[in-house]
Symmetry: C2
Subunit: 890 residues, 2 copies
Amino acid sequence: MSTSKQWVYGFGGGESAGDASMKALLGGKGANLAEMAKLGLPVPPGFTLTTEVCTEFYKNNRAYPGELSGQVDAALAALEAKTGKKFGDVANPLLVSVRSGARASMPGMMDTVLNLGLNDQTVEGLAQLSGDKRFAYDSYRRFIQMYSNVVLELEHHMFEEILGSHKDTNDYRTDTELTAEDWIQVVAEYKRAVEKKLGKPFPSDPKEQLWGAIGAVFSSWMNDRAIFYRKHNNIPESWGTAVNVQAMVFGNMGETSATGVAFTRDPSTGEKRFYGEYLINAQGEDVVAGIRTPKPLTKASREAMGEGGLSLEEAMPVVFAELTAHYQKLEAHYRDMQDLEFTVERDRLYMLQTRNGKRTAKAALKIAVDMAREGLITEKEAVQRVDPSALDQLLHPTISPKYHRDLICRGLPASPGAAVGAVVFDPDEAANLATAGKAVILVREETSPEDIHGMHAAKAIVTSRGGMTSHAAVVARGMGRPCVSGAGELRIDMKAGAFKVGGRVVKLGETITVDGSSGEVLFGAADMVQPELTGDFATLMEWADKARRMKVRANAETPEDAATAVKFGAEGIGLCRTEHMFFDAERIAAVREMILAETEKGRVAALDKLFPHQRQDFVDLFEIMGPRPVTIRFLDPPLHEFLPHTEEDCEAVAKATGVDAKALLARARELHEVNPMLGFRGCRLAIVYPEIYDMQARAVFEAACDVAEAKGAAPVPEIMIPFVLAKRELDFLKGRVDAIAAEVFAKRGRKIEYLVGTMIELPRAALLAGEIAQTAEFFSFGTNDLTQTTMGLSRDDSGKFLGTFVERGVLPQDPFVSIDAQGVGELVGLACERGRAARQGLKLGVCGEHGGDPSSVAFFERAGLDYVSCSPYRVPIARLAAAQAALAKG
Amino acid sequence: MSTSKQWVYGFGGGESAGDASMKALLGGKGANLAEMAKLGLPVPPGFTLTTEVCTEFYKNNRAYPGELSGQVDAALAALEAKTGKKFGDVANPLLVSVRSGARASMPGMMDTVLNLGLNDQTVEGLAQLSGDKRFAYDSYRRFIQMYSNVVLELEHHMFEEILGSHKDTNDYRTDTELTAEDWIQVVAEYKRAVEKKLGKPFPSDPKEQLWGAIGAVFSSWMNDRAIFYRKHNNIPESWGTAVNVQAMVFGNMGETSATGVAFTRDPSTGEKRFYGEYLINAQGEDVVAGIRTPKPLTKASREAMGEGGLSLEEAMPVVFAELTAHYQKLEAHYRDMQDLEFTVERDRLYMLQTRNGKRTAKAALKIAVDMAREGLITEKEAVQRVDPSALDQLLHPTISPKYHRDLICRGLPASPGAAVGAVVFDPDEAANLATAGKAVILVREETSPEDIHGMHAAKAIVTSRGGMTSHAAVVARGMGRPCVSGAGELRIDMKAGAFKVGGRVVKLGETITVDGSSGEVLFGAADMVQPELTGDFATLMEWADKARRMKVRANAETPEDAATAVKFGAEGIGLCRTEHMFFDAERIAAVREMILAETEKGRVAALDKLFPHQRQDFVDLFEIMGPRPVTIRFLDPPLHEFLPHTEEDCEAVAKATGVDAKALLARARELHEVNPMLGFRGCRLAIVYPEIYDMQARAVFEAACDVAEAKGAAPVPEIMIPFVLAKRELDFLKGRVDAIAAEVFAKRGRKIEYLVGTMIELPRAALLAGEIAQTAEFFSFGTNDLTQTTMGLSRDDSGKFLGTFVERGVLPQDPFVSIDAQGVGELVGLACERGRAARQGLKLGVCGEHGGDPSSVAFFERAGLDYVSCSPYRVPIARLAAAQAALAKG
């Protein structure tokens, strides 16, 4: 036997054994009921069986603690005393609701049984007390139906069929037409059906009913849906659920009764106005079920909506005044917008629930800023109140909610925002039309690095293949272009110049709208809502910037992206991928010439052609970024990415550029790799062909001198060597970069401060960070590649099974979205520690996709990085996430 | 100024400042000369400039320590006192040799200058003293030639031309015909030529000559050849070289003088007999140069070789007796076979050098075993005396050294051993011919997993493409088949049914010999020498087994490989790759059916067809391995490896098997991966299709029960789950394996002990080893894949640049050959530590290619693994390496 322990906590009647701080023990609902009762609000009294009962229940092979039964009896007695009613008493029966209530809200578990305590005898008592026999039997049949469903696990449709056939027989169309006698018959039929199904009668003993409901709640903690939900929301099984038993109050006891839900502020806009709905003569479930249309709470709302009837304010002014006082008290007490449930039983108001209300991103922002201005919360708290991920909705144009959508097809919401344009299938055509000022949408089977210029030119991208981490998705997110990927039903028919979805044909040039936030492709030009980056948004960002420690940079290579980054508050460029600059039509020929050259001299000649372009690239970036640091990553991808791959493509390129098709194909085959991710790429290229990085280094330093001369202020270049696995690689390449810097500075008579650092994107580099930091002046974690190598997961290929992995709980999340803190994270931590031990003040940053993911940003704050870098459109998200992470660290 | 330090160490005349233990300071040669002098052997006196002089020289921008000059003068004075001669003295000139001498023997550095101290005056003194003017001038011209070459860096051919034209003019055919006058003329001509070339005369001051030679030795430490050699042999630059200055003795002072080299035992067979050669009236270089043919030292040798003339034993019996006493003393002193140099000057014996003699693998083995039996060394020392890598030569058939090789072409020595067979180009044909009892050699452009059956059937494999780690090379080594890979000149002409090398054509069916140890492909059937695995070999292995701690297992899947493994002393199977069993013609159809099936039911039906084969596989293995553990790795490679890839192949397979070609191609495309190494493979397959491993588990347990029933003794299966990255993968799969085991055991009424473990081949698995070990009952390190992921190096692709990387010193060695102890090794260490902390006594092994590499085996011993597993033919190597590693650890 365990020692004596409190398993049951009572509440109501102005007192409570628990309070809001005891969520772990009492569950969210139980703790808030206790808190409300303690605040003196009119809460129907009741008691809570703690989550520890649940834990104990499962620990002991589904047996309750020995003391529980006695404590429940005592709580029941107290409840009877508070209400003046008696459980199972025919004259004055106590009826209760039984609800589950875990620490975190958990759909998938048993929800509610109402009117528990009714049987053939007590129902008569209820009829007498309420003076409404019809109400009493309606309540009874509702109870039988609910209890049978959630406790006895019988299906709803059995009861619906009985009710339906009863209505047919009597030629009723709605439930309201049924009389008390009708409900008595229905109840009898329900009970017969249950007995037939179960081979035993529906339980009539209220105590048996109560223990049945309690058992159902605890058992539902382990049903498949609950397990699935917990897995997906990282809720530990060990938390358990509580059970709340509460005296019933009735919103359906005639025209002086009502039930409703309310938000203390508008959950959609955040506006400071009382907002909600109610129904006269109804129980809570009726509001949700949508059979009757609820009315607004306030007169102002009702008038604004142009509705008839009466608002609660008009129908029950006294109750409304009382409710107003309660909601204000609750919001002030909880210091957040509350989501309330209430019931009016014969003009008497009861508060059934309060909790922090869910809200849109826009509302979250406004409520947080308003409350801080009102002095209800601090600026820091306001910063913590807004989910950074939700900001995404606010940073992109969206489709007007009023617009009628003509859906063509659906794919994955690969990159948020919406855009309108004419259908184009060819990237070159996209680029040409865009140059001519036309808005286009690029529709492709899938995209590759050769399509970058067309993706940039397009307003949005649609692909029929590929997942959330396909090339199209990743690049589109980086560019801030809306993208729908993997629209599987979409078939491109190049010959017909159209795409088809089922029987529907959309032709080249026709206008479509892409909603990258929902994954929808719509026909026609939708009405758009533009994002607002001023007002509350700007205020919250300002507060966030005050709170954060880490800097936020952007991944950008084009002037357009760099300008967007600055607009969104980027404090530098954390990753300029120079290879993206090589795909331009003017340059790719020289790049291919370089790759085909058989001698160093030949390569240098081709690189000389690239040099002026590359220098201009850096001049443009330096001019936009001014005194902010610009991290330039030297050529990274394997060379075959720049070559055509099929025989036909080789011939086409050969024809266009005058090179030999056979030589091109031969070189492409020679460079072909089984695992290009682990191949001849990154600094390995420059170990074998140092002249490539030499050209890039010269372009950086010449550009820096040009801009310094023109502007009088020097840019801040940080040269980043990718894919390093050994210090000696960096020694060799940094030596050459430094030599070229010295040469350029001597020639130009000017010295520019610069750093040479490395990406840490291989486990070996992380492990040998101490050695590498002797040469590297900064580290930037390439967490995409580090995730690929540490976990042995190819980003290009793992889409096929990662879903199954997350679903089956093998991995908690897609590690390309949120960093794998256990594995990849340990390497990041090790590298930080060893790097800083070797070089004091070593600058540490991250430039993988994770730089814009809030939970990853929180990890990087804990790891002590100096900055995160992400795509321009995620910069505000990263700023807010960094602030929250800093505040969480305290 | 540095404080006073001893830079110069004298030796000779029965005393020495140094000894054999001071190799770091005096170099190998200097230390051994000092030691011999100390032993009282007749060493010509001299002195050694230490390696610290060299280090100081380079530290101070090629300047000598200030004290050096004085110490050299003092050492010279002492040398003059010991010899009674004077440097530069016309009447009684001291002549010296100057030699380099690093800690490790280093070809590529300056070797020797003899007769230093001669000039136009001292040569006359030498003539007087020796009574032989011709000898004196011959010595002088040799000195000029050597000094000019190694110190003044003039080319040899200049002097050879002068000598040649002098001989022509006088119609001489050999050098011996030249008279004293001739040499005087030649000397004059030499000196003129030098002066013309350098613009200044040949140095005549002995002191100047001496410092010139010393400077040349120190400078040669940094010449390109020396740097290259050091890099390739992991010799640190910081070691530096010493310089040895030693009084000259002359083996060319007439018929009572001689010079020779000797080995205390036969360096080729290891036989215990004094072995060597000498020349009367010659200097050391003449023995090496091969102008005159040296004679054997002993009478027995001379008679055995059927030679005329006199052996040293016969010609100079007194000297021979003295030499015999010296060599016996030296071998006993050094406790190893010695390589000696000696000179006899006018009947007086001088010992010039002793060092541990180089020997063949066979000799190393015999000498080690013999010496241990003689009590000269311990058994443990014998074990440490044999290079494990060299054993490879002894384990495979080799081509008789007497066989005249008709070379067709050369490739890489990809897998050792030699074999004879008929040329075949098609793997199926190879299999058919082999079944018919014919010996065949498979000649292919490159091989793929589909060729396995043909490779197994062949006696050897030749490929025209691919490196040392290509598929052909890796598989051939695993199978113990000789293999020559990357024979670039070889062109296969399938139409003509032949291969061509240059103009030469070798037809299908013609007999060739493959020498996988040298990389040669020969025409015709060579005479073969079979390996001997008994006698000394068996003895040494027995001693090794006593000394080692780690167990040695083999990687094997076929009965043939398993039998070989047992023959070579494997103590279990460490890796049975079940996928290799799936390529068999009978089975591949069912495998493809499984891959094409769209439902679990369809997959199960196909797997049911595979089941009896798979069970038989395990029955065979268990029968051979008896009570030894058998580690069975469940299916690992991505499924597309089992499918044809091109349209044509799909059509061929479709035709042959009756499946739909389009469906086949579509599935192949669907399964195609950008980075298959990081793709849908290993246990990921079974997370999505658990029925695959279910079938394999059932086959293992049914087979185990079958064998246990038949033999009365249970096999020891260890089931290994590959490519694990998270504990939950293993939880899921181990759960299913255990359930199937329970089911089979219940059905069969028998329980077999088994383990379920995991491969650690991903950095994440290594980092999370603590968690994983809660479920895994053993770890086996898959260091191939762990190297690929940790270093970001694809084994299939990195051949193209790894050579450059090692050459440029970026990596010390190919990390697929010897484990990267710093990076990959740290992860192995971490995983061992964390795994054992979580599960006491967790069994740890390695089954990558590194398991058969001696330096990696040493690492694994330090890491505390329980066993290594390698290909059957490397088992003896691993046994010896493991013994040495255990002994080194002490």
